[in-house]
Amino acid sequence: MEVKQFKNGIWTEKINVRDFVFQNITPYHGTHEFLVGPSEKTNKLWEVCKVATQEERQRNGVRAVDTEVISSVNAFEAGYIDKDNEVIVGLQTDELLKRAMKPFGGFKVVQKALQEQGVKPNDNLTELFSKYVKTHNDGVFDAYNAEIRKFRSLGFLTGLPDNYARGRIIGDYRRVALYGINALIEAKKVDLSNITGPMTEAVIRLREEVSSQIKALNEMLELGAKYDLDLGRPAENAQEAVQWTYMAYLAAVKEQDGAAMSLGNVSTFLDIYIENDLQEGLITEEQAQEYIDQFVMKLRMVRHLRMATYDEIFAGDPTWVTEAIGGMFEDGRTKVTKTSFRFLNTLYNLGPSPEPNMTILWSQELPQNFKDYCAKVSIDTSSIQFENDNLMRAQRGSDDYGIACCVSYQSLGKSIQFFGARTNLAKTLLLAVNGGRCENTGKPMVDGIKELDGEYLDFDTVMTNFKIAMKEVARVYNDSMNIIHYMHDKYYYEKAQMALIDTNPGINIAYGIAGLSIVADSLSAIKYAKVKPIRNEDGLTVDFKIEGEFPKYGNDDDRVDTLAANAVADFNNELKQLPVYKDAEPTMSVLTITSNVSYGKKTGATPDGRPSGIAFAPGANPMHGRDCNGAIASLNSVSKIDYKDSLDGISNTFSMVPKSLGSSETDRIDNLATIIDGYFSRNAQHLNVNVLDRDMLMDAMEHPEQYPQLTIRVSGYAVNFVRLTREQQLEVITRSFHESM
């Protein structure tokens, strides 16, 4: 495995990409002034892509779809955008923006998605899947019990990956470039031979999984051959390193349509090859940027076939090609390289874009020039997000990690996670004031909660009931998750991605909650004001009358912020008591994606004064308009949620008007970088930044054709604003736009 131009180490003895990067990185402390614009080839290609995406928008969001073939690594022949101008090749299907059927998550979902486009799958497939082939979705519903179905259909558990692919797993795509596939196959064969009896269920399963991974690696070799690439051997130069890495990712998105399929942390890895070729005079800066621009362009063109209801939980057709950029090594060196800058530069060369979901691993120790450039890019494009590298490195243990989906730490090649959407914590609180019954239907959900008498809600009684409700909801949630991941492994195993991860990796199961700010403000109202429930003839709450003032989450007031932090800790503790499939480690996130709108619709009036049906705030955000003591007070409140209680991430989406950051560009850059430093110094985990005027968004609603690339961060990811539904657009506009610090 020795490659002559690089410094050797552990990585030459066994598979360890982190060690290769650690030994060979050239950290960069300079400014962005070395960056160059797009090449002529890149411009030509991007023009084709722009026309194609415009056609896609005009055709109801789908430009073309294949109805004949089940997508797999080699289901399609080689596809090109414009071969002569492509320095990095490879498409998911044989045509740009053509979507493919991946029915193993659920065939009905594929049928529905095609039907919405006015087509249907080939009759043979329909017969096959209705009579002979079982999917993940079929398996899950075979095992679901009545209780889980009830929690799911009434909106206590929502967005579960039981009829779509779970995603979130990050293959270490760098391995293909560094080692070549032949070496990876050999290593997996050794692993397989070491998995020996007694043949318990776990051992049998693992042997079957590793065998599938070896098949997937062979399929990747074939995929390379279709594009005349010898992926069997290691990449030998910068262009090959980019191409090999992309081919590995491409194999994954041909085989799977997981909700979020992150890229990992490839920029600094690729920089080593680029730096080498630049030093040897083999390439120019123009070529280096061209490789990255074209790689990123390809990532922007990744598509999956989705049905319309999917858009309610994940609006704007996201793919979450999340790339983690920057961060620090444990020895104090920065992982920032020139290619970290080159990735960000694509947002100028190709214009703003939600994908790839560029995530800055921010540390106070990052080079100041890089911090300033990130702040500039954020202000100019609202396309990037920030996560606290110091915090995650210290608490999770690795300095070589990516971000799964939006906010979730995942060490690369060493561990995976099982995605679990989220539970509606606001509805859970309503069980506590409705005798354990669903507030909308009156159906009994949870035993052991007495109907409340008394004119006003009593805080201690409500808290006692809330804890009972949380325990029971956690139990049902855990049951559903175990079934989902058992079946996903069985019917839609991610063999291509898992082939690029250590055999038998660590797993965390990623639970989540929605409605945190509603819960905090409701408990605060009950504790500090007087809350009188208004009940219908069935005794169910339909409204709440609040007498007096109460502190609201988002104003740096410990009285209510503690209630928020405790609710997170309490629910997480309930989840941690429960047995998990494959002995995964339970973790939890406070993250909603865009489902805060649909969760709100399914939730009756709440004791904080929120009327029935109104959208929640996203993620861990304070409720819209209630954080009225300035931006910093709002940030301080969110930072009080302890990362230890929510290790899968705490999402905060933050919008400021440009002038609140300062009058000149230098001031704005300086102030944004300082805010991020300040927020993360308080051990906060994540910050999505929008620097926008509300007026512009309103104009974009009326004249979408003038804003084809307008990008806005929503909750752990970004979307093209014009691809949101009108309802979602309105929700984004009602969020707090901080006009002062």
Binding site: I632, A633, S664, D670, T674, D677, G678
Partner: protein
């Protein structure tokens, strides 16, 4: 002082507001301290903050104990003992607003003959050796005249403590507040500067000051 262009006319009255204990304020400041970075800190503004100079002395003293940068945004009208204590000992930065460079112009604009007092204030700060920024509101035909800008530059060109001058081009954003207060906005006929007028003013001031910044 009642400047004709005041964009915060609700702060002109010296009564009103909400009383805070010094420690309450310090606590509020400490909560946001992580966001100050290398350049941030506390600025007292107004209205005219030196109207409360007696209370500012212990406040600034506490802030200095906490290692926080302190700044006073003032018109330089008050130079009592407390103000000089602040200037000499506790204010890391003074942002001094020079309203006009003639006594008559000053009075017409603010209702007070204060130019000499403000210049004395500046001189005192210069003698303390500590940092100062000047601020100047630019109104076409009233303060944006070459002779006034040259007079400003000539007066301050040898000052060593002045790090920069900030120009605030006149805008009409405060008018609605005057109307809400039931007061007449006497500058109604004044217009905003053109880009050329701002550039011309900057060119003149650049001859005298290290840095000229347009807000």
């Amino acid at each position: 002082m009642k400047c004709l262009y005041c964009h915060n006319p609700d702060t002109i009255e010296t009564s009103g507001g909400q009383p805070y204990e010094i420690e309450e304020l310090v606590e509020k400041v400490l909560k946001v301290k992580p966001y100050f970075g290398k350049k941030g800190g506390v600025t007292v503004s107004g209205g005219e903050p030196l109207l409360q100079s007696k209370a500012l002395v212990p406040f600034f003293k506490r802030l200095k104990e906490e290692g926080i940068h302190t700044n006073i945004d003032t018109n330089g009208r008050l130079l009592n003992n407390f103000a000089t204590t602040l200037l000499d000992d506790y204010a890391d930065l003074i942002m001094l607003d020079i309203k006009h460079m003639t006594e008559e112009g000053y009075e017409a604009l603010t209702g007070q003959r204060n130019m000499e007092t403000a210049l004395t204030f500046a001189k005192h700060r210069e003698e303390s050796g500590k940092a100062m920024w000047l601020r100047y509101v630019l109104i076409p035909g009233i303060t944006n005249k070459p002779e006034l800008l040259h007079a400003l530059g000539e007066h301050f060109k040898d000052y060593k403590t002045i790090e920069k001058i900030e120009i605030q081009p006149y805008h009409k954003l405060g008018i609605h507040k005057w109307e809400a207060l039931g007061w007449e906005y006497e500058l109604k006929d004044a217009r905003e500067n053109t880009k050329e007028e701002i550039d011309a003013a900057v060119e003149i001031l650049n001859q005298y000051f290290k840095e000229v910044k347009v807000n």
